[in-house]
């Protein structure tokens, strides 16, 4: 490998989303003919870094050089001109169009404005043949809508390959693939490598990184912390580099909660969930662990009645009708949802309205609100949760991520919930606000509220939880209790569950 003239060199990349620094001076350097892993915990900025290179995120500052010459990448079109293609887990397919039309989308062959389906098929054929073992019986003129998620992901990969990139970014592009399909993709990647293509490989699956990559860049909190040659390190060392100083995480939960059973869930099935059953006690903090996207968020919205499901849920022995968030809230269940902007807050509305929206009916008489009471209630939450606000009339969009999240907490605390469901409550929240949110969560538990928390950060679960339920493919597969909850146990549990069953479950049967 020639270190002196890398094909891709990113330096000093900065990107802020509102108050959150996604990237702060990240660097990356990769050469042609190499598969380069991009690793880091969730929220470390690895995807953002890839998107900067692909032209779909505009960095605040970046120093990018391709094949030694400095470039600006202002749009996906500019990236494509430089030979950069990207594949994400989130697909960019037009479902109404056929497979071959999607493959050639944006570069359709044709004459004088008329497209030739035959030429398109001819152009797509080698790619379809190459991916054929993984695609199964997919036809070129089948609408993409009829394909399984795995097959769609493969078409997405094929689309990038058809552009014959010099630099190919695969961002969690294998997440929805069956093991055999992954192997086909890996073979293709190895061929590209032989041809001198630089492949940037972003994945959560450590085993895939170990198998495929030559080198890896490891990011944490938007900064590059290490660059390693894969052959020289063990998986454990990589995990340690990813999580950083393992010792600093302190469990602050001394003794397990001994309260009565508050939340009982039986045979809960639905979108992304199969037959989930568990119980949680009053005052207990229960974490949902495992790889991302194994049904944790789905479980929380199901418990809140936000999605259609079957099964039984009871709070303090009384059954809850899972018909709507409204009926769940009436039974004392609250949800702090995963997407603060579109699900948690009403960004354009004042802080006061956001705080009072879920509880105002209790304070209203005949539908009329008293300004003083509403103000007092929201001021109480602002004080209790120490939310930093300019004024109660300011829109929530003026707040930082952490303070906006506290507003979502405050909204539900005014309802005095018995069970609070937290979906990644500190995502995009700065360190200071994070510890304050932890304080709020502990306070709730001490007061007897049952807390169910999903987190994209394992150390958050270690810090907070009495018990962690490890989920895999919509079901609870393992349980870790008390002092056994460590970051390494969590990472291992998540990966090991995957090893056992991964490959038998295909995308088709998972839906």
């Amino acid at each position: 490998m020639n270190e002196s003239s890398p094909l891709v060199r990113l330096r000093d990349v900065h990107k802020r989303y509102g108050g959150v620094r996604a990237l702060q001076g990240a660097t990356l350097s990769a050469v042609g003919g190499e598969v380069h892993g991009l690793l880091g915990p969730n929220g470390s900025g690895k995807s953002t870094l890839g998107k900067v290179l692909a032209g779909s995120v505009r960095p605040d500052r970046a120093d990018i050089a391709i094949a030694g010459s400095a470039v600006q990448i202002g749009s996906p079109r500019a990236a494509a001109k430089l030979g950069v293609s990207a594949v994400y887990q989130q697909l960019s397919l037009v479902e109404e169009l056929s497979v071959s039309h999607n493959l050639v989308l944006g570069q359709e062959p044709g004459r004088v404005g008329f497209l030739s389906d035959r030429a398109a098929k001819a152009k797509a054929r080698p790619i379809l043949e190459r991916l054929g073992p993984a695609l199964g019986d997919v036809q070129a003129d089948q609408p993409v809508r009829d394909l399984t998620p795995g097959q769609q992901q493969l078409v997405e990969i094929g689309k990038a390959l058809l552009r014959e990139p010099r630099i190919l970014i695969l961002d969690e592009a294998t997440a929805s693939l069956h093991r055999d399909q992954v192997q086909v993709v890996f073979d293709v990647v190895r061929e590209l490598k032989e041809d001198g293509v630089c492949v940037l490989f972003v994945s959560h699956r450590l085993d895939e990184i170990m198998e495929l990559c030559d080198r890896a860049t490891i990011l944490r909190s938007g900064e590059t912390v290490a660059e390693t040659v894969i052959d020289t390190v063990s998986p454990e060392e990589i995990v340690r580099l990813m999580v950083g100083d393992v010792q600093t995480v302190e469990r602050e939960q001394e003794e397990p909660a001994e309260g009565p059973v508050r939340l009982a869930v039986r045979e809960l099935s639905g979108k992304g969930l199969s037959d989930v059953a568990f119980e949680a006690r009053a005052g207990e903090i229960v974490g949902l662990g495992g790889l991302q996207g194994q049904g944790q968020s789905e479980l929380l919205s199901a418990l809140f009645g936000a999605t259609a499901n079957s099964g039984s849920v009871s709070v303090d022995g009384r059954p809850v009708r899972l018909a709507s968030p409204r009926s769940a809230a009436a039974r004392g269940i609250a949800l702090v949802p995963g997407d603060r902007g579109s699900q948690g807050t009403l960004p354009a509305r004042p802080i006061l309205e956001n705080l009072t929206v879920a509880s105002m009916r209790k304070r209203a008489s005949f539908g009329f609100l008293r300004a003083a009471r509403e103000r007092a209630a929201s001021q109480r939450m602002v004080d209790e949760l120490s939310i930093k606000v300019g004024g109660l009339a300011e829109p929530v969009s003026s707040l930082s991520g952490g303070n906006a999240q506290k507003v979502v907490f405050g909204k539900w605390l005014l309802n005095e919930p018995d069970v609070i469901l937290l979906d990644d409550p500190t995502k995009g929240v700065d360190i200071g606000a994070k510890s304050e949110i932890y304080r709020i969560i502990r306070g709730l538990a001490r007061a007897g509220t049952t807390v169910i928390i999903n987190s994209s950060e394992d150390r958050e679960l270690v810090t907070l939880c009495d018990r962690v339920l490890v989920m895999f493919e919509g079901d609870i597969r393992a349980e870790i209790r008390g002092s056994e909850i460590t970051e390494e146990r969590l990472v291992q549990a998540a990966l090991r569950i995957g090893e056992g069953t991964h490959g038998e479950t295909t995308a088709e049967s998972a839906t």
Binding site: S56, S75, Q343, A348, E353, V357
Partner: protein, 318 residues
């Protein structure tokens, strides 16, 4: 300084300044345009549009591409039903008004149900309803409009009740206060804003989104009918297309008033000022003896210009 800038940038203030500027311009072009009598008369005409714009404001606030294209014809139908029932008799004033409002409410509920449960986009549903209501008007009238407003209604609109102020302006002002209170001081108002600002977040906060939407479209039709009734008090005679042309201005008034097309932000006061701006503009164009076609063109062009200022949509790239 910062505060001053915020005040100057407030759409409400801008709209009010435009209204005043138009009146002044009119006064310069044609003496008498800005006379108190003439101003009162313009406000009187603005009140019909203002009443209809109440409902349009609520609908636009409810978000989800909320719009009610049926308000103009519903106003006409309301005017026809009320005036036929009254037939120039004060005794039948209340029954006439009630009949019009009940029928309008039924139309609004239908709009709401179609939008919420059949998931028909608001513009399609209300545009379809426009066709149905036009048909209904022909059925009711048999193609001949023959209603007459009750004298009391005429007096309310055309007479000068208090210190030379027409009663209709007092009704309008009272309703403006009530609607503003409804929006700001009731659970319904808060739920409406929440629904418009973020439907998913509202649902996840326990807001009965469907009920709010149906109520909103019902109110829209009811206020439209009210505007139509006020109009027939002005014209005394009813016509088959009395208020049909007020749909576009009602939307324009809402946008001038600073209510976001995307929903969730805004209020009625702005729309009321918007209604005044549009009315003054129309009478100014009439004073300048602009032909009808030019007035129609200007109306459309004004709306496009306003949208360009307030209503740009997001780019595809972040």
């Amino acid at each position: 300084m910062n505060n001053l800038r915020r005040v100057v940038r407030d759409p409400l203030v801008i709209a009010a300044l435009i209204a005043i500027a138009l009146v002044v311009a009119g006064g310069i072009v044609s003496p008498g345009f800005a006379s108190p009598d003439q101003i009162v008369n313009m406000l009187r005409v603005a009140s019909f549009l203002g009443l209809i714009a109440i409902g349009q404001t609520l609908v636009v606030l409810s978000g989800g591409e909320g719009i009610d294209l049926s308000v103009g014809t519903v106003a006409t139908l309301g005017a026809i039903l009320a005036s036929r029932t009254m037939a120039g008799d004060n005794a039948m004033l209340i029954p006439g008004v009630l009949l019009a409002l009940v029928v309008a409410a039924a139309i609004g509920v239908t709009n709401g149900l179609g939008i919420v449960f059949l998931k028909i986009p608001p513009f399609v549903m209300t545009l379809g309803m426009l066709g149905v209501v036009s048909g209904l008007i022909l059925v009711v009238t048999g193609g001949v409009a023959d209603g007459r407003a009750a004298p009391a209604l005429v007096h309310l609109v055309n007479g000068r009740l208090f210190f030379g102020i027409p009663g209709i302006l007092i009704v309008w002002a009272a309703l403006a206060v009530l609607v503003t209170l409804l929006l700001r001081r009731t659970t319904f108002g808060r739920q409406l804003y929440a629904t418009g600002a973020g439907r998913e977040a509202a649902r996840l906060s326990g807001v009965p989104v469907n009920r709010v939407l149906i109520t909103t479209y019902t109110l829209s039709s009811v206020f439209a009918a009210l505007g139509g009734i006020a109009m027939v008090g002005y014209s005394q005679q009813v016509f088959l297309n009395l208020a049909n042309d007020l749909t576009l201005p009602s939307i324009a008034a809402v946008i001038i008033g600073g209510t976001l097309v995307a929903g969730g932000v805004g209020g009625y006061l702005g729309s009321a000022i918007g209604a005044i701006v549009l009315t003054v503009l129309t009478s100014l164009l009439t004073t300048l003896s602009m032909p009808e076609w030019a007035r129609i063109v200007v109306q459309g062009a004004v709306l496009i210009a306003l949208l360009a200022v307030y209503g740009r949509q997001r780019r595809l790239r972040s």
